[in-house]
Symmetry: C2
């Protein structure tokens, strides 16, 4: 619809706002089945967002008749997407209504987070609650991608087993990787040593081999920081009203993602957010990406531990060791964190000048180090952000929520696909 | 509509796409007047986007009946928003139809661009054509904001006179300034020396004083690079399909704006795109913004001319002089441009890594210098953009279109507001 596109930028925003985000019942021009599919999703999402709501409450919110809402709710009950909680609620008028909520069994999402030093899987139910969570600490560097994905598939198969025991049937799996991901392929993940890896195909194959009798699970993929930022949006700071933020994830390297007005900015090719490769010093040390002086050479986990003289072969305890040293006031450790904070602050101030977010969330290993990094980061932001907003309000720099991990975000994407078209899930599940 | 917001990011995009951008007739739930207003805009925008189209063609595109379209077209003809071109067109079936196009008289927009070394005004008609264009070269530094705005209002009044002679009646004026603009105020424009200037009020007052007998023109305001980027989107590279780009405007300082999928990214507070204040060297020279080592200290017009030893008090001829020297192979001039290109390339590679655009457009004075800047910029982008896309395709770095200036973009915003709600314009104009 090229004609429509022109209107998104400026003037259309006002009139268009009521139409956006799929939150309006479709008109009579769409065919009846499309309308019903759309409205099924609308009602289900209304229950999801409200937490608890009556049929009358839904009718008021979405602007459909009570009869139409009742018929849609019947179908959602039959499919098992919503349940009656047993409670009743008396609204402003009329009889008390039965309270509805989304089902805690049935549809779910499986998220898989493959990082350099761990693999994590998470199963999230329709309400967004994480019902299964498994983490395996393991060094994935120098290991064949197919082996790493087989390892991840084994963990996923175990999680699917636990999910099944709880009556959950994931609609799909989404694999997050710290690298450039597009079209089902990891274009490159320098810290894993991956180049052009068909991550979706390899993972699906490995998982199918472990579950020969089951139907294959649809597999999608994403960048790890994107998935973590979505988790932050849906389950972390976003639930407190932070709708525009820069998410920076300290890992072996540094991942990043941009969320603006509740939407993840993926960029034209899906590669946005790579703050780890913003230049800090054009003549600096060579980065695994091939360029020189990238931020992650100064403030990534590997760089931090090396500067502090901590053995990087055992890197997860390494961060704990750096934290312990900082806690007992070790001057060298404090200097390393101060220096990394300064470089991080310089790069972040550029990103804030470009993107103008409400907040910067420090995730990954930075969560454990934030108290020593934050003063230097704050100082650079206050000094360098041209709007001055960042000198007025130091609470803009925040530790990421522990609830906002990449596996949960990836699982959340699968769940949201179910909520966006419950009929499609029901058809596939043969209901 | 907080419930709906959650859906914009991920899963909702698919189903939501048909609903976005205000391009669908409203359903029966909206009240009748709202529906008619909306559909009037829909039909008008369809004529605008098509250039020439019959009533039958409109009906096919928007999914309304021919009778409904005819009634809406009658009203648009009566209001003077569209005209019958006199041509007929035979479609695939039925009688030949009369060809409609947007009117070249009546509604228009006035754009005003206040820069450090010039003021420009532009009147754009409903079709997007610039019908009046006036530029005054003048040094606005060290001059009271109210004086600068009075100067701009005089130029605007002259442009409004010429517009009236052509039968054009601008619906409003939009003033673009190279600084941080929000809520009708220029928060700061360091290169103009402005701080907290109520630009809309001052300009409206000055213009009203010059046109005492006329009704006051509504005045809005924007950042200059934002306005130029919108002009690039609507009248320049955007018309050739470049929908995601970073716009960098070389002026006394450096302005910037981000367009993603045909939408300008304004950021959470309206301050996005400030690439001029991305850090190139944390310990570098002091910038007018108060920080050190900002890009504009290395690659802004003032920095370029100073490095080349060209008198910066006569800055517009200064750029022409730098260009002349480069053309005749002056080693010092070439070295200055090469160095600035390198710094620009380093900062741009960070922005590209963060934002992943399809293209970078070099605007402002960079348009005249692009052949000497581009090799170094390209080299840094090829080396530092982590996706590798920028080493594969050197055509991603482009000179901005000469059609894409800030005054025209600002005027275009006003025109698009008319197109988004023609009934509101007609009511104000007393039709």
């Amino acid at each position: 619809m090229p004609a429509g596109h022109v209107w998104a930028g400026q003037a259309g925003a006002r009139l268009g706002s009521t139409m956006k985000n799929n939150a309006t019942p479709l008109g009579p021009k769409a065919d009846k089945l499309t309308v019903r599919r759309h409205n099924l999703s609308l009602v289900l999402r209304t229950v999801h967002d409200a937490g608890e709501v009556t049929r009358a409450g839904i009718a008021t919110r979405v602007g459909l008749t009570r009869a139409a809402v009742s018929s849609l709710v019947e179908q959602l009950l039959e499919y098992g997407f919503v349940t009656e909680s047993g409670k009743t609620s008396s609204g402003q008028a009329g009889r008390p209504g039965t309270v509805l909520e989304v089902a805690r069994t049935g549809p779910a999402g499986l998220g898989v987070d493959i990082n350099v030093d761990y693999v994590a899987v998470c199963v999230v139910d329709l309400s967004g609650t994480d019902r299964v969570r498994l983490v395996e600490h393991v060094d994935n560097r120098g290991v064949q991608p197919s082996q790493v994905l087989t390892r991840a598939a084994r963990l996923a198969a175990r999680a699917l087993g636990s999910a099944a025991e709880q009556g959950l049937q994931p609609a799909g799996a989404r694999v997050a990787v710290p690298g450039l991901v597009s079209g089902g392929t990891v274009r490159q993940a320098p810290n894993l040593g991956w180049k052009r890896v068909a991550v979706e195909g390899l993972f699906a194959q490995a998982l199918s081999a472990l579950r020969p009798a089951r139907p294959a699970l649809p597999v999608s993929s994403d960048n790890e920081a994107n998935a973590a930022a979505l988790a932050e949006l849906w389950y972390g700071a976003g639930t407190e009203g932070v709708r525009s933020f820069l998410y920076v994830s300290g890992e072996i390297g540094i991942g990043g993602a941009l969320v603006l007005n509740g939407e993840l900015l993926r960029g034209a090719h899906g590669f946005a957010g790579e703050i780890g490769h913003v230049v800090v010093d054009p003549e600096g040390p060579l980065c695994r990406c091939g360029a020189r002086g990238c931020l992650e050479q100064y403030a990534g986990q590997a760089a931090l531990l090396e500067a502090a003289g901590i053995d990087t072969d055992t890197d997860v305890p390494g961060v704990a060791e750096l934290r312990r040293r900082a806690q007992r006031g070790d001057g060298a450790a404090l200097a390393v964190l101060e220096g990394a904070g300064r470089q991080l602050g310089v790069a972040l101030s550029g990103a804030v000048n470009l993107f103008d977010p409400d907040a910067v969330m420090l995730g990954g290993v930075y969560r454990q180090l934030v108290q020593w990094l934050a003063p230097a980061v704050d100082r650079e932001l206050a000094r360098r952000v041209v709007s001055g907003l960042w000198s007025e309000d130091r609470s803009r720099l925040r530790a990421a929520s522990p609830l906002g991990d990449a596996a949960r975000g990836a699982a959340g994407v699968v769940v949201r696909e179910v909520l966006a078209d419950p009929a499609a899930y029901a058809e596939r599940a043969g209901r």
